[in-house]
């Protein structure tokens, strides 16, 4: 009994002392871990960039991939921009809007960051929007950029386009190139899911198509078979447009689809943002996925000098083909180029001026942000093919800079 009490006192003291020490340490200088090795020679004040990635929580698998992209960019930049050392401070946004807001505040108030990469989720983006707008902190989406923060606030960069804008050409493709006239949809039930599907529907309907069946599945649904059981056949819908927020949901969905297809003549699947799949997941889903048409934000096989150089560098460093890592890489590179233009000035006015209405060449393709921060980029339609042991999306059609969001002025 006495031992336990003693131990408890020791533990309490340690906790209190540790707390005080941390407070003291934080008051002096932010002791946050960064992505960099000690920066080279210059003694100039470092440029600080923040990065919000999800390292814990339901979408924890995305965070590390984005970090890989940013790390590669920093390496190529030699950790220097405009003659000054650059520091990227990574914070875990914990798959939660609350955490994203807290970390955004910490990055800005404590670390003095004015430019942030991320966050990923739509509701995280909406959550940080008022604060970022008020404090004039620029932030950019990784792959999924919701319309709200672009239309209603002024510091968000929708990369590579807004969800709606990105998928509008998908709708066109399904109507014009595939000749479909009726569509069924299955989407993840959250803001981003709604917007991706809304974009495809918008493009499809504005060309004359109709939507006959619309279903929303909760994120993390363990079982997609009920949805597939209720899915119309080819007689009623020409295509099933699917968007699911994570590779695991999409995998389960496609497996359920395959099971149901064996019984009934379901329409072909067109997957939006097929980038959610990792190469490993493609391999595991080989029987289901090869031959499928999809919209892919980034295509590693796209033959283009900027892209080829990036893919080679990524393969050399990480030993695998990049997919969404590209997005983080490009975000970092675009910020770097803007900072070169402003001469290291990361204030909102200088940066926004440097970032918007300017053409950037990225591995994904040409990129241009409008004055509202809306991204204009290419939308790629691809087919999943098996090439030399790897299963990857191959470009079938490119819509150049056609991602204008009809809901953004």
């Amino acid at each position: 009994m006495k031992n336990k009490k003693f131990l408890l006192i020791v533990v309490s003291v340690i906790l209190v002392v540790g707390l005080l020490l941390s407070l003291g340490a934080c008051a002096k200088a932010p002791a946050t871990p960064t992505a960099t090795t000690p920066a080279p020679t210059t003694s100039a004040k470092p440029i600080k960039i923040g990065a919000l990635i999800d390292l814990t929580g339901p979408i924890a698998d995305m965070g590390p991939r984005f970090k890989e992209g940013i790390d590669l960019a920093l390496e190529q930049l030699n950790y220097t921009i405009a003659g000054r050392p650059v520091e990227v401070i990574f914070e875990d946004s914990g798959s939660s809007p609350t955490t994203a807001v807290e970390r955004m505040k910490k990055l800005h108030e404590s670390d003095g960051v004015k430019v942030v990469i991320g966050p990923l989720m739509g509701d995280q983006q909406s959550a940080v929007a008022p604060y970022a707008d008020q404090q004039k902190v620029i932030y950019v989406g990784y792959i999924n950029s919701t319309t709200g923060p672009v239309a209603d606030y002024g510091t968000f960069l929708a990369y590579p386009a807004t969800c709606v804008g990105q998928q509008r050409p998908s709708g066109w493709y399904l109507y014009e190139d595939k000749g479909y006239r009726t569509m069924a949809t299955l989407g993840s039930d959250y803001g981003g899911g709604h917007e991706y599907i809304a974009g495809a529907i918008y493009g499809f309907e504005e060309r004359g198509g109709t939507v006959v069946h619309k279903v929303w599945a909760p994120i993390g649904s363990p079982d997609f078979s009920p949805y597939m059981a209720a899915m119309p056949t080819k007689a009623e819908a020409d295509v099933l447009v699917v968007f699911l927020s994570s590779g695991e949901d999409a995998a389960r969905c496609l497996l359920a689809y395959a099971n149901e297809k064996a019984k009934r003549d379901l329409p072909p699947v067109f997957e939006l943002i097929v980038d959610v799949f990792t190469p490993q997941q493609y391999k595991d889903l080989e029987s289901v996925v090869v031959g499928m048409y999809a919209q892919s934000t980034y295509l590693p096989l796209r033959d283009d000098p900027v892209n080829n150089a990036f893919v080679a560098a990524f393969k050399a460093k990480y030993g695998q083909t990049p997919v969404i890592q590209q997005n983080a890489y490009t975000n970092m590179m675009v910020y770097a180029q803007a900072l070169e233009i402003t001469g290291g000035d990361d204030s909102y006015e200088a940066m926004w001026n440097a970032l918007t209405n300017r053409d950037f060449q990225t591995p994904q393709g040409p990129l241009r942000y409008s004055s509202t921060g809306e991204g204009l980029s290419n939308t790629y339609i691809a087919q999943i093919q098996k090439i030399g042991g790897e299963i990857l999306p191959v470009v079938v059609k490119t819509y150049e800079l056609a991602t204008k969001d009809p809901y953004v002025p």
Binding site: C26, A27, T56, E91, E195
Partner: protein, 353 residues
């Protein structure tokens, strides 16, 4: 005589001694810790970076939540995993008033943020209080998850997004309340002090409640409900009122949280939020009023610092702390600190042991 004279040489002049004696009596008395805490909370902010200040505000909010929760948990002895319902109700009231009705006046929002959870508790009480122990746990958990799924589905509880479809779940752009005091608009710094005032008020109210006959009756029910019934207490009514009071404080905390966090979403109804005051109460000590406050400090700050310094491994640290706390600090850190404090009082303050 000689001994006295020698002893007097080493002592301070009478007046100074009297003042220091008085000060130590106050500080080491019953309210000592509270006074010291309040002084710390008042004076620290300018010396700490903004993110720590934000955590201090968050800690105060959760301290209120946990103390309110502890009225039912520590004093009444019922473990509820569904207090997120009242917390979320308070938060959503504030947020929905702003989003749909454009009302951001504190004097309208806060009373409603108390009223809505109270009404919920009044309605849920008869359902929930039929059971105790494990069934109470499961029942309150179930209701919390039900509210989570309702708030996920209900159109009016989300913003409208693109093309009229539901956008982001929850309300993402809550702003500080308007105090209707000309010239005084809340910003991040003043909001902290605003919360601090609220915390002190809540603490004092809960102190009065727990030290009243009502509070003692609750403890009596915890120790043996049949006995209390035999003594003529309408135990069900006591439990019901305790639940309602607890809900009121949770609603206050929820409202403050909505303002602090700028976003309220369905997860604040669910078990992920409900289990926090439980953890804080157990770690800090559920049998004393300030126990949950200590627990809130520990949980909030450990989670924050751990997640910054150990970006990937902090849940491991947090979980381990729960385990250690349960195994070694059974009565809660707060109780041990209280005993420690009393010992210090005996040694240095001439207070009776």
């Amino acid at each position: 005589m000689e001994k006295d004279r020698i002893q007097r040489i080493g002592r301070l002049p009478n007046e100074v001694e009297r003042v220091s004696h008085l000060t130590s009596r106050i500080l080491l008395g019953r309210f000592g810790p509270l006074i010291i805490a309040v002084i710390l909370l008042l004076t620290l902010p300018p010396f700490v970076p903004m993110d720590i200040r934000l955590m201090m505000a968050k800690f105060l909010i959760f301290a209120i939540f946990a103390m309110g929760f502890n009225l039912v948990f520590g004093y009444l002895g019922l473990l509820s995993l569904g207090h997120g319902v009242y917390f979320g109700a308070g938060g959503y009231t504030v947020a929905l008033l702003q989003y749909h009705l454009h009302i951001d006046s504190f004097w309208i929002a806060m009373p409603l943020a108390i009223l809505v959870p109270v009404v919920l508790a009044a309605l849920l009480g008869p359902i929930v209080l039929r059971s105790t122990g494990m069934y109470f746990l499961l029942l309150t958990f179930a209701i919390g998850e039900l509210f989570y799924s309702i708030s996920w589905q209900a159109r009016f509880m989300s913003v409208i997004g693109v093309g009229g479809e539901r956008g982001v779940r929850g309300i993402p752009s809550v702003i500080y309340p308007d105090l209707n005091i000309p010239g005084l608009a809340l910003d991040t710094t003043s909001f902290y002090y605003f919360i601090l005032v609220g915390f002190v008020i809540c603490y004092i109210l809960l102190y009065r409640i727990t030290n009243s006959p009502f509070g003692h009756a609750l403890v009596g029910i915890r120790e043996g409900e049949p006995r209390m019934q035999a003594l003529g207490f309408n135990t069900w009514r006591y439990k019901y009122i305790a639940l309602i009071i607890s809900a009121a404080f949770s609603g206050v905390a929820g409202a403050m949280f909505a303002w602090h966090n700028t976003i309220i979403d369905p997860s604040h109804f669910a078990v992920g939020t409900s289990f926090l005051p439980m953890v804080m109460s157990i770690i800090g000590g559920s049998k004393v009023l300030f126990g949950p406050v200590i627990g809130a400090v520990i949980v909030i700050f450990v989670e924050y610092f751990a997640s910054i310094h150990m970006r990937l491994r902090w849940p491991l640290i947090l979980g381990s702390i729960f385990v250690v706390a349960v195994m070694f600090a059974r009565a809660g850190v707060g109780v041990y600190l209280e005993r420690l404090w009393k010992k210090v009082g005996v040694r240095y303050g001439n207070t009776k042991s």
